[in-house]
């Protein structure tokens, strides 16, 4: 049993994800309350080079050819073995496509409590999680003696978890990984025929508030008038109103642009986490309490349909 905080590093196709650095920053804060070390846990194959900028006290590296790419089954087996042996105070996972496939399963397998969607830790080491789409925070004591935690972005900046001098890497043993029930066949890259919205300087983003497919034309006309491109949040993509390549959000693209003009987007965490790096966010929403107004620089409380055509005309007249 130790007071150490383990951070399961997420990486895909040779790139360490931002959430890994966010978690290292959170682990640092938590370790100050528990008095333990921050330990980055890297699983992979010939992937030691990825451990070059982790703000951790130690790096544990688990190398196995079946850990070369993420699969839930292999990660669960390797991590169940490590957690049982080392008994750290807490293990942090991303609340992501990778972390979510592993953390809950380990919670049941090892009989350990799980804290979900944690955004930050208090000075006393309590967890603060977001619930109700980020509108309410839930705070509690970190369960003892070992807690599993999935972390959402927003509480810490990824740069807080980066360091120029990474600590030494210690190799850890990997258990037998036979009879895996999940195997990776291949990756399928997104189609590149469409515009790459992550490279656009100005996006007109539409959410559920756009109501139907025909109304996308209104957003298109506005985008053309100002020289931008239309993108959407998850509900718009799932309805087939815009193609997947236009999805901005947790499972879509992260954007860092000059202007993000959001219409009818409430600002659920899984969307906003992908846009906070933008220079200027302008939001149009009928709900004055919509969370999008907390991250936007400028807000307009109005029905988007009252505004969009008038604004398009104004832009056409001025350009």
């Amino acid at each position: 049993m130790s007071q150490d905080i383990y951070v399961v590093i997420e990486h895909l196709q040779g790139q360490v994800s931002d959430i890994s650095y966010t978690m290292l920053a959170g682990a640092r804060e938590l370790s100050q309350a528990t008095g333990g070390k921050v330990i980055a846990v890297l699983l992979g194959h010939n992937a030691k080079d990825l451990a070059e900028d982790f703000a951790a006290d130690q790096i544990l590296y688990l190398d196995h050819e079946l850990l070369a790419e993420f699969t839930s089954d292999a990660y669960q087996k390797a991590l169940a073995d490590l957690i049982s042996k080392d008994q750290p105070r807490a293990v942090l996972f991303g609340n992501t496509s990778i972390g979510a496939d592993v953390a809950s399963v380990l919670s049941m397998r090892l009989g350990l409590p799980l804290v979900s969607s944690c955004r930050s830790f208090t000075e006393e080491g309590k967890f603060v999680s977001q619930i109700c789409g980020g509108k309410i925070m839930a705070e509690g004591e970190l369960p003892s003696p070992i807690a599993l935690v999935t972390m959402a972005p927003g509480g810490y900046q990824p740069d807080q978890g980066r360091s120029v001098d990474s600590p030494p890497v210690t190799e850890s043993t990997v258990p037998a990984l036979e009879a895996l029930r999940v195997t990776l066949s291949k990756y399928i890259e997104p189609e590149s025929t469409d515009v790459d919205i992550s490279k656009e300087p100005l996006l007109i983003a539409v959410g559920r508030g756009i109501q139907n497919k025909d109304n996308i034309e209104l957003a298109d006309a506005l985008a053309q008038a100002i020289g931008g491109v239309v993108c959407g949040s998850r509900p718009v993509i799932d309805q087939g109103w815009l193609s997947t390549s236009r999805l901005v959000g947790k499972s879509g693209k992260q954007v860092k642009l000059k202007i993000y003009f959001a219409m009818g987007i409430s600002g659920a965490p899984e969307h906003t986490e992908a846009i906070t790096q933008s220079d200027t966010i302008i939001a149009v929403n009928t709900d004055p309490k919509a969370p999008i107004f907390d991250i936007a620089k400028y807000g307009i409380q109005m029905d988007l349909f009252e505004l969009v055509e008038v604004l398009t005309e104004h832009l056409k007249a001025k350009v």
Binding site: F70, A100, M137, L202, S245
Partner: protein, 157 residues
């Protein structure tokens, strides 16, 4: 909940169990993977397409940036579904009524709830927004004029 479902699904001997990835409200995302572990089945979440082939399910899992991973999952399995290949559509009321007449709903006893493993929440509160947008007020005409000025200021016009 996962334990209760598992008790019933074990009896039904299902080859494939589909759950959502996470609820809109709490974004917890635990029901699918907890259920899978109760059933000793593999779990893959964020799935946007699934097919059955020769005792295995061939699935596509979503990663950020539009990247997909094609994976093979041995059955029986639990999959967390993120999206469908086709958008969901409304079912005509007449079809719903037809189904209500033709099919029956079988009730099964849930086992005793065992909520162990969930962390205790000490307090809940509304997040204090560190900042709030500067609101642009006025009629649609006035707001549009102000936005045009703003776009010029930001150098996009």
């Amino acid at each position: 909940m996962a334990r209760s479902f598992a008790a019933i699904i074990k009896e039904l001997q299902a080859d494939l169990v589909l759950t959502g990835v996470q609820a809109h409200n709490d974004l917890d995302g635990s029901a699918g993977p907890l259920l899978a572990e109760c059933l000793q089945s593999p779990y893959v979440g964020y799935v946007s397409s699934a097919a059955i082939n020769d005792g295995k399910s061939v699935i596509r899992k979503e990663y950020p940036g539009g990247l997909l991973a094609e994976m093979e999952v041995t059955l029986p399995a639990v999959l967390g579904i993120q999206a469908a290949e086709q958008p969901p559509r409304y079912v005509a009321v007449s079809k719903v009524r037809q189904a209500m007449k033709a099919s029956s709903i079988e009730e099964m006893d849930a086992s005793d709830f065992d909520p162990s493993g969930a962390p205790a929440v000490g307090r809940m509160f509304q997040p204090e927004a560190t900042a709030h947008a500067e609101m642009i007020e006025g009629s649609p005409e006035e707001v549009s004029a102000k936005l045009v000025d703003l776009f010029k200021e930001l150098g996009v016009l």
